[in-house]
Amino acid sequence: MKPQPEHNELAIDVTGLVKRFGDKTVVNGVDIHMPEGRVWGFLGPNGSGKTTTIRMICGLLEPSAGEGTCLGYNIRREANQIKLATGYMTQRFSFWEDLSLRENLEFVARLYNLRPRRTVVDETLEKLGLQHRQHQLCGELSGGWKQRLALAAVTMHKPRLLLLDEPTAGVDPQARREFWDEIHLLTQQGLTVLVSTHYMDEAERCDEIVYLAHGELITQGTVDAVVRESRLITFQARGKGVRQLAPTLKGKPGLEHIAYFGSALHVSGKHRELMLQSLNPSFQDGIQWEEISPSLEDVFISLMVDAGVDKRAYE
């Protein structure tokens, strides 16, 4: 029985997705069951298979193995319906730089047969606040404006699902904040969003996160749950001489990773006793130690360390 789109509460429901290019496995058995109306963050180091997974979900790549539906449509057989109901924003700006803003939007409006076209495009430009620059070529826009234009273009046909592939890479903090305000506005209107990112503050704005490494799904859940389930213990050191401390701590038993956060040093591990033993010599004057709740970044670094070397086959 094929699930009917309107009765299916999962926007993305895929199981065992595998993608091989030649003899290289890029995605190795990923399951995602994402309910409608949520914002999910897609995280993982570079080359972990995030883009490939997104492309398989929206029908741009055919999975080597695995099945599933996107908005109730089969990802293998109903790519055309999926394309009509989703908006996909590519990692690299992919609208036509030698077309003006208006011409780009009109092209998209024509492809989706949006009517009345003029009004739809006018409204989109107005929402963007770019009416006065509508005849400017896209290539002349700054990175932040390009991203906003791309978001406007991929949401113009009122998709039910939005797939955003590192939409804010290389965009300044102010523009990023505005971008995310826009995303939250869209989800309030019932849109489902899957967004890949490297920014922790963006991950924390998501209802749930999915963490991928080496083409495999490592963990998923709310930010709090992911932090909790990591069972990570983090100590923070502040004060003079912190910079000199890190090299002396590296490699000691129980100290899984050591990283600077601003002027502070975070030392994380999973065995409190072992950690305290190793840290003992550095409980000295001028350095204040304190146990803190690990940040998402601590958890991710830990996950990356745990995932270890890339296990995907490169024969």
């Binding site: 741009l60 009509l84 996909y88 590519t90 690299r92 992919s94 036509w96 492809l111």
Partner: protein, 379 residues
């Protein structure tokens, strides 16, 4: 001194980087080796400025040993290959009109008898002079061929006939371009060459540009089918091709006074077929090429033999068989026959349906290839 050394160091750094990139860029590498080899082979072996073994037809109403001797002298000259024996003068001319033969030799009844009586009988040689270069050498040798043949025959009591002027009157009829004006051949040919170059290149580049700039991924993510993309992309360039054709044909008429004997509508149809052929070929190239540079190189690789082996620059019939076979696979070869046939010979569909069918087959083959190669996914 150290600044000079530093400078050398930096030059070496750039040089090494260039060498590495050159090695990685396979198509450029192939081109650097392939183009000289291709040119050597084509110019060295295929092209012949003294075209020999040109196909000819014969019709003779006299079958004496003297005539047979003459016919074999034609063949021995190396210029004429009698590939068909016509059943009437009309049929011989029709063969010429269709371009199946370059010459038609007609020896009328009573030739031997008149020769023996010293009445200077006529031999009629009709030549397809659309390409003056192809016909001129063979025509130039005519008197020599005939005189040589007769010298061995006219002995004893007939020896007095050897005296000048020649005992035979050779009537040469250079058809389609009697004044041997090169422009009449080149200008219509240029129409084909220009259409080939621009249409193939423009489409190949336009498609790879999308890929290079990342637009393709966006296009694929939107609800548009490959055939829709292809038709949408090609149609504007059909218009460009039509504009080019109008410009060249106007120049042919007003600037070069090239005659136009055939039907303009038929030529328009031929141009349309030819433009679509080239555009679908360009589209196929673009599905193979990874970037604009490669698309450009592939176009060049295709363009070079098109110019050399199609009969545009050098007489098609003068090339060896293998080169003619390659030439038959190039759309330009067939289009040249269409455009020259219509303009200079007044050919109609009756003579050209074969060439039109070949162009149609090219469209089918290239179009299918393009559609199969252009995928709906990024795989």
């Amino acid at each position: 001194m150290s600044t000079t050394l530093d400078s050398v160091q930096r030059i070496v750094a750039v040089l090494i980087k260039e060498l590495i990139q050159m090695r990685r860029d396979r198509t450029t590498f192939a081109m650097m080796l392939g183009v000289p080899i291709m040119q050597l082979v084509l110019f060295g072996f295929a092209i012949n400025l003294d075209p020999k073994h040109l196909p000819a037809a014969i019709y003779t109403e006299d079958n004496s040993p003297m005539v047979r001797r003459l016919v074999s002298a034609f063949e021995h000259s190396g210029y004429y290959d009698f590939v068909s024996v016509a059943s009437s003068p009309q049929q011989g001319n029709a063969l010429l009109e269709r371009g199946e033969v370059s010459f038609f030799v007609y020896i009328p009844a009573g030739f031997t008898a008149q020769l023996v009586q010293g009445k200077r009988p006529q031999i009629l040689v009709s030549a397809d002079a659309t390409d003056p270069a192809a016909a001129s050498n063979a025509i130039g040798r005519l008197d020599g061929i005939i005189d040589n043949a007769l010298r061995t025959e006219l002995k004893g009591p007939l020896a007095h006939l050897q005296a000048t002027p020649s005992p035979v009157e050779v009537v040469v009829h250079a058809k389609y371009n009697p004044e041997a004006i090169t422009q009449y051949n080149i200008v219509p040919g240029l129409l084909g060459v220009i259409l080939t170059m621009t249409s193939v290149m423009i489409t190949a580049m336009a498609m790879t540009r999308e890929q290079e700039r990342g637009n393709l991924e966006n296009l694929l993510a939107m609800p548009v089918r490959p055939v829709e993309v292809m038709v949408g992309k090609i149609t504007p360039y059909i218009l460009v091709g039509i504009v080019q054709a109008v410009v060249i044909l106007s120049a042919a008429h007003f600037l070069f006074s090239v005659p136009f004997f055939g039907s303009l509508a038929l030529l328009a149809f031929g141009i349309l077929l030819f433009v679509i052929t080239n555009l679908s070929l360009g589209f196929t190239f673009s599905t193979v090429a990874k970037n604009q540079m490669q698309a450009m190189q592939m176009t060049f690789f295709f363009f070079l033999p098109s110019i050399l082996l199609s009969g545009f620059m050098f007489p098609f019939r003068g090339m060896p068989h293998w080169a003619q076979t390659i030439g038959e696979c190039l759309p330009l070869t067939h289009f040249l026959r269409v455009v020259r046939g219509i303009m200079l010979k007044g050919n109609g569909l009756e003579q050209l349906h074969g060439e039109f069918s070949v162009l149609g087959i090219f469209i089918l083959v290239f179009g299918t290839m393009a559609m199969l190669r252009y995928k709906n996914t990024l795989d």
